[in-house]
């Protein structure tokens, strides 16, 4: 082989010609290249075929074969939805035209259609808020990665094979997002792993006399002649379960998406499953009637338009009211917007309690406010203890994507002339939230320790800050201010919880900075008037919790802030006010366990069991003490009883599995961890222990699989360094991330990071 000695040798003339011609040919022929300058006209025979098959049900096999021939099987041959989990019967592409349109359904189901058209589900794909995010993914990593998001946001696009380079699929359906016949064609659920964990059937609106589904549209006359067959085709019992919602209201970022590792995105279903509303968790602080997702988000109401799906004059709402005000605001859907705001303000979801004042100079705490007389003087430095209780939300505040949504506490103190003495949680002129506000948001960060504020989820490697109020729990927020030396009369102290969908910087990402102000909804608030002078006790406001519950919520908040002595003190007030309340003693026991004070914990738990024999919550914690004291039989008995009462308790299954494991009872241990995995497919303890147990049982392949799942789901030890990098550059968030921080009007930076004994 000959080599040129010159780095830039002259090309033989004939070759140069050829290369020039070839280059021209390539540029000319690869018409899809976006940088082409000249008018381009190319052939389209095959596209015409696709056009036809995409618009009508036609032959699925023919359609699938044609789509498959150009499909980017980036994640493996035959894999049509990874990194999402969407699946379809037949396991191949299905024509968009196979899905009867919403207009078709709306011919009879007028109320449902009217509600759905303004609801989030119908707009799940087309909104600028979503498109901005998914377009970044498409334009950086490639459209094939959007199968992750669109398994839930646009299932027809995924299952029809539209999410591939140079797609030939007619995407006219994009405007309908989750249309009627996506949800109503789901035939089976996968695990509760989310990311589109459903199995779509071939859409049908009728079954035949043998209950066999008849694909495609049917005539209205046929449907009206056989409404029972229509119902069998479009309804499934599991549509009423929270697991149906879990298919999409739980999400993770899997390795195929981020080339990194599994990262939990949001766990709304798990939050519900762990809440009092599921009645599946013995460890909740309070109890409630069983209420699935549909119990709040699909309440029945009288229909105003004709609706064959209504029963006794009421119809399960297809507006799915929740927190999203941005979409109805953008689209001008006033009805949906007003319903959303009404929903957010209804239901006694949150409780704000101006619980106590601390007079800093005297070191004296006045609590609970309203029930205790006290005196104030001009010049007093006061710390206000505000307790926020997530009272009746079946998930956290905020749920899901806390990098986009924004809830915060707005705290004000004004004098009798309305002059502001302290204001935390204000909106700045540029629309941004006061960065010192106590917010229920998070800060996912990338490997540079930079906040991923444009929802580029595939770059997230750590979460530097994540503040929320889990379902049924409470938080304590501290505000410090000084009564002006010349003040007289009264002060008004107000704490509100506000909500904005979406955060201003994300709105700026979507629209640039020239967009209207998006709605801010006051979820709840509480004010108290403080006299400079004497303040007698007074009656509670209608929304106030009873005093024992106020103390209980304070105890819960202290417990979550690792302030064990204060927590014990608060719970002691609870049992003083309610000596019959078993949970008061369980709470004392729980706090002492956390504080590693096992002897008093045992006494308190045993006292709770005297008040309420067989009480699962007490038995659970007592079982943990028995384990610590090596009373294995007692531990086993306690936890077995808890599992008997609460077979779907993930905590009880986990601990009972560990009990069996420590007793070398591999078979029973395995059963418990398998049961745990059925409840939560992402439970780390289940992966870890099953990997060990399967190996012991000779099940090597299963062991390897569990070990691999554990490896990808466990925390990356490097990840905290990304968070620390962010926190170093953001002292305002560093302070917020300290549980017992104080928002102070007395320091230039607005907050102090430590309670410093005050």
């Amino acid at each position: 082989m000959l080599r040129n000695s010159s780095p830039n040798p002259p090309q033989p003339r004939s070759f140069a010609w050829g290369i020039a011609a070839a280059t021209f040919a390539a540029v000319f022929c690869v018409g899809g290249v976006l940088t082409s300058v000249h008018p381009i006209h190319a052939q389209s025979d095959s596209t015409q075929t696709y056009q036809k098959t995409a618009a009508t049900p036609g032959d699925r096999g023919e359609y699938a074969a044609k789509v498959a021939s150009g499909y980017n099987y980036f994640f493996g041959k035959g894999d049509i939805s990874t990194p999402g989990n969407a699946a379809v019967e037949g396991n191949t592409f299905i024509q968009p035209g196979a899905f009867p349109t919403a207009e078709y359904c709306g011919h009879c189901h007028q109320e449902a259609y009217h509600q759905w058209r303004q609801a989030l589900h119908s707009n799940s794909f087309r909104t600028p808020f979503y498109r901005t995010s998914v377009n970044i993914l498409n334009n950086t990593k490639g459209i094939q990665f959007s199968r992750h998001c669109d398994s839930c946001h646009n299932p027809i696009a995924v299952l029809s094979g539209g999410l591939t380079q140079n797609s030939v699929v007619n995407r006219s359906f994009d405007k309908d997002g989750l249309t009627c016949t996506t949800c109503h064609s789901i035939q089976k659920l996968q695990s509760t792993a989310g990311n589109g964990g459903y199995v779509m059937g071939v859409p049908a609106v009728m079954v035949d006399e043998n209950c066999k589904r008849i694909p495609g549209e049917a005539s209205y006359a046929d449907i009206l002649a056989h409404p029972d067959r229509h119902s069998k085709a479009v309804m499934q019992d599991f549509y009423h379960t929270p697991e149906f919602c879990a298919a999409c209201h739980k999400a993770n970022l899997p390795r195929p998406l981020n080339d990194y590792k599994f990262i939990t995105a949001f766990t709304t279903y798990d939050e519900w499953q762990n809440s009092k509303f599921s009645q599946r968790n013995p460890l909740t602080f309070y109890t409630a009637d069983f209420t699935p997702c549909q119990g709040c988000h699909m309440r029945r109401a009288a229909n105003t338009l004709p609706e064959p799906g209504a029963k006794n004059g009421t119809f399960a709402t297809h507006t799915w009211p929740a927190g999203n005000t941005a979409v109805p605001f953008y689209y001008g859907f006033d009805e949906q917007l007003s319903k959303t705001i009404a929903f957010l303000k209804s239901g006694n979801y949150l409780n704000v309690d101006l619980f106590a004042l601390r007079k800093m100079k005297e070191g004296k705490t006045i609590a609970p406010l309203g029930s205790t007389p006290f005196t104030l003087a001009a010049g007093d430095v006061l710390q206000t203890l505000v307790v926020l209780q997530n009272k009746n939300i079946g998930h956290s505040l905020l749920p899901e994507v806390r990098d986009l949504y924004e809830a915060w506490v707005e705290f004000t103190v004004t004098d009798s002339n309305g002059n502001e003495i302290f204001h935390s949680g204000f909106i700045k002129p540029n629309g941004m939230l006061d960065e010192r506000a106590h917010s229920f948001t998070n800060r996912p960060v990338n490997t540079d320790g930079v906040f991923v504020d444009n929802h580029k989820v595939f770059t997230i490697h750590s979460v530097a800050y994540d503040n929320t109020i889990p379902a049924g729990r409470s938080v304590l927020v501290r505000y410090e201010f000084q009564i002006p030396a010349n003040a007289s009369g009264q002060l008004t102290v107000t704490a509100k919880v506000n909500y904005r969908h979406l955060r201003q910087s994300y709105l700026n990402n979507v629209f640039g900075k020239d967009h209207p102000a998006y709605p801010i909804v006051e979820l709840t608030s509480r004010s108290r008037t403080l006299n400079i002078g004497d303040n007698p006790a007074g009656p509670p406001a209608p929304q106030d919790n009873p005093d024992w519950m106020r103390w209980n919520n304070l105890g819960i908040a202290y417990l979550d802030q690792l302030q064990y002595a204060d927590s014990i003190d608060a719970f002691a007030h609870v049992v003083q006010l309610r000596p019959d309340y078993a949970d008061g003693y369980v709470n004392l026991g729980l706090t002492n366990i956390e504080w590693e004070q096992y002897s008093p914990a045992r006494s308190e738990l045993e006292h709770a069991l005297k008040l309420s024999p067989g009480y699962a919550r007490a038995l659970y914690y007592l079982g943990l003490i028995e384990r610590r004291e090596a009373h294995s039989d007692a531990e086993l008995a306690d936890l077995t009883e808890v599992v008997r009462q609460f077979p779907q308790s993930r905590d009880a299954r986990r601990e009972l599995g560990i009990t069996y494991y420590q007793r070398d009872d591999n078979q029973h241990a395995m059963e418990q961890f398998q049961a745990l995995q059925a409840i939560d497919p992402d439970d780390l303890a289940a992966h870890y222990n099953l990997a060990l147990l399967y190996r012991r049982m000779g099940m090597k392949d299963e062991a390897k699989q569990q070990a691999a799942l554990f490896a990808t789901k466990k925390l990356d030890p490097q990840a905290p360094s990304y968070s620390l990098s962010y926190l170093r550059n953001h002292p305002e968030i560093t302070t917020e991330s300290v549980p017992w921080h104080v928002h102070s009007a007395l320091t230039p930076q607005g907050t102090v990071g430590l309670n410093d004994g005050r």
Binding site: S14, G18, L34, V37, H41, T47, S167, S172, K175
Partner: protein
């Protein structure tokens, strides 16, 4: 390097081969803002492959269909602006008053009639997504004057505009 006579033949053969290569030359013009199937679906006509002009990121696509004496044309153009505050106005002016301000298409959008001749009826949407202007025009040349519905044409223009804006977000 060994000397040998220069010949045009191999180079030309390669060039001709590439030009005629079915692998390369069946590559279709792809409009970055909307594929042919979606465009056809939204305007309800069997549009042919697009003709592209301009250079990235400001590219225009023109789709055409000829059916029963009626010619349908869909033009989509997108223009990158360095200063939208000053540069958007000339684009917006392509919609002459009276136009109708549209809700929920891009940052802003306006719909107007843009008839090109007594026999060529057109509806146009001019809009903006951040620093990109887009112009969508649906036109029908109805020489045989078949009945057609203005409202339908408006809906088609809006549907295309919404899809384009979605892509630009």
């Amino acid at each position: 390097m060994r000397n040998r006579p220069l010949s045009l033949a191999p180079g030309l053969a390669l060039a001709i081969g590439l030009l005629l290569s079915p692998v390369l030359c069946t590559a279709q013009a792809v409009c970055p803002w909307m594929n042919q199937a979606t465009a056809s679906g939204l305007v309800g006509a069997p549009l042919g492959a697009p003709v592209l002009s301009g250079s990235a990121p400001s590219i225009a696509c023109t789709y055409r269909a000829q059916e029963k004496g009626e010619a349908t044309t869909l033009e989509i153009s997108v223009v990158q602006m360095s200063d939208p505050a000053t540069q958007y106005a000339p684009h917006r002016a392509r919609c002459r008053p009276p136009g109708v301000a549209l809700t929920a298409i891009g940052n802003e959008a306006i719909l107007c009639r843009a008839d090109k001749s007594p026999q060529t009826y057109a509806e146009r949407v001019v809009g903006r997504v951040r620093d990109r202007a887009f112009i969508v025009t649906v036109s029908i040349n109805a020489r045989s004057k078949p009945p057609f519905n203005r409202a339908t044409m408006e809906d088609q223009a809006k549907a295309v505009a919404e899809q384009v804006a979605g892509f630009l977000f």
